[in-house]
Assembly symmetry: C2
Homo-oligomer: 421 residues x 2
Amino acid sequence: MAARHSVAHLSRRAAGAVACTPLRSSWLAKDLTLQARTFATPVPPVTQNAAGSKGPTAMVFLNMGGPSTVDEVEDFLRRLFQDGDLIPLGRLQNYIGNFISSRRTPKIQKQYAEIGGGSPIRKWSEYQNAEMCKLLDRISPETAPHKPYVAFRYANPLTEEMYNKLLDDGFGNGKGGRAVAFTQYPQYSCSTTGSSLNELWKWRQRLEGKAGPGTIQWSVIDRWPVHPGLVDAFASNIEKTLAEYPEDRRREAVLLFSAHSLPMTVVNRGDPYPAEVAATVYAVMQRLKFSNPYRLCWQSQVGPQPWLGPQTQTSVEEYISKGQKDLVLIPIAFTSDHIETLFELDKEVIGESGHADTVKRIESLNGNPIFIKALADLAKSHLGSGTVCSHQMGLRCPGCKSERCAESKKFFAGVESSLTV
Amino acid sequence: MAARHSVAHLSRRAAGAVACTPLRSSWLAKDLTLQARTFATPVPPVTQNAAGSKGPTAMVFLNMGGPSTVDEVEDFLRRLFQDGDLIPLGRLQNYIGNFISSRRTPKIQKQYAEIGGGSPIRKWSEYQNAEMCKLLDRISPETAPHKPYVAFRYANPLTEEMYNKLLDDGFGNGKGGRAVAFTQYPQYSCSTTGSSLNELWKWRQRLEGKAGPGTIQWSVIDRWPVHPGLVDAFASNIEKTLAEYPEDRRREAVLLFSAHSLPMTVVNRGDPYPAEVAATVYAVMQRLKFSNPYRLCWQSQVGPQPWLGPQTQTSVEEYISKGQKDLVLIPIAFTSDHIETLFELDKEVIGESGHADTVKRIESLNGNPIFIKALADLAKSHLGSGTVCSHQMGLRCPGCKSERCAESKKFFAGVESSLTV
């Protein structure tokens, strides 16, 4: 399928390769200056509104995704364990990845069956994005209309599918147009957002070739760990859960923030994720005026190699054994429900704690209007900022050896490419 | 010496044990209510100013300390490696600690000789505290006079020496009086501030017995990772160093925040330090408006067991090998110069980088007036807050097995002791 689409779109791209546009924002202008050295006579792309709007703008949500049905579990796991950006397994990545995913499939299928037959992440992502785009059309008319797309790393809709949809919808193919890659991981990790961007870059190269006139102009919202709306959405959900405890016990409930862990090889390579997760936690505690004692724990460790701790499940067991049974679990690095909340936290950590009445989990952000407004605010300020990505994104991890990462960063950092080391 | 002082002060305490005071702030009032169940007829302590001031107030700076002379290195290292709160070596702690410190002494003596014959940490701590107390006398007259004390964990003046000085100066011994244990580690770790507080609690028990009328009323400033004055002091020093780079390279210099690392056993136990260090880093970057790309690294790993990374020295080498030679080192978890800045960063990391002209370290906070004002603001707001310590301090780490830690937290958390799990 990949090859078929590649050929089709490469020929369409070739046909439209003369079109280019003098867009208004400064980075695009600079980019154009560079392009102008190669390509003459730029003309406005057909998708742009000559009356004033720079739209349409494609808003592309990036996330890991999850199998919507039990049948999709095997493919999902295979892609996941074959991703060296996520789980580095060395030169035998594909072989070992296949082996692990085949072995784990029956167990994980059972878990998805227990949470209703599939992950709700696609439903929530599509809902959040559609709602955000509606808000954006109102608050950012100059980039309207905003069109929602979802690109998952390991499940449908995959990046390739999204990219082809973009092209089919009139972006690129000589007509240019702007697309924003909006990571739905608030905190940046090379193994999450980084992996999604590497995948996006790969499909960009395959389907559009290098940046040039008439190709899609990408910019990236690559991290937003302390956005006030995000922080407020988490904090208000925590307050709701705290209100369920009797008043005399409420202030003493321990808040256990839980984020997906990383292998220590990734942490020690210099991945920015642990520090950004901690920044979110601190911002939420500031918003709560440090009403409760708290700790940051890490969940979902797999396999025998060392991962970052303390582990969420162990921490819950240890607090309970110390007599602290009022515990509030807060999934702090994911914005909608998925197997790690619905199965791992609810059924394993809470279900097996022996205190399901006093160990609680806050609701995930899902359709929370505070959160969706935060997404729109973030997107609006990005669209108006004239930046292609954060200054931070151009910097590789000190221990990074991935050429794919270097190239992908160079591409997305665009005019900031001199920062890519 | 310990035994001699203990006996002397225990008898003085016994002589003055009838004195107790109805102090004004709410936590002291609550504390008194508890005491009132046991002790009758509280009378004002002789050290209090009946005209309105609650002073004198002892301001006790807690820190690890460092040997002021090369001759003190051996004792310093012995205490350090014998501290199971800092470097957990199990049941043979004292034996192994002695062995390691004896072996390391000649090497470390040489390092101290190279930085001028000793650590400047005592000089800076005494200066910072004296200057802070002068400011406090002006901005917090109701708790004046403020008297500066320093208690180091591994070097002179040790906690025992400080406590005896407090008693000699008229605190305790039936006369009560208020003392604030003010950690000079902005971010809390069980192995730093926790260890200092455990030591303070030990000497409190030995020299004054349990809390009772006429003993010193302790409260604790236990962490202040994002205090605006601290953040501003770091940020302005970073700006000064950035200004040394040619303008066209300035924005691309990489900021490498460096904090003392922790063994993974401590991290995985649930120590709050890595997350609080990350909070400081994020706050400084916010203050700098994310002007530069950055990473958080960890330094000073010792021995064969796994420590938290990425390592500072390795990161510097790796960035240089990627062609990024403009690097700004920022010691983010220490407030004055010490061997880790003057020797490890300056002589080892920078000195051996081959690029001592472009790899730079920001000045430590030392006598920085912005920093000293921050200390005074922090202390004033603590003194007026009516809190004995942060709500967070009462919570033990999930994996904590230390009874000393449990008891010490119970003591310091005072009226909040029900939070100690």
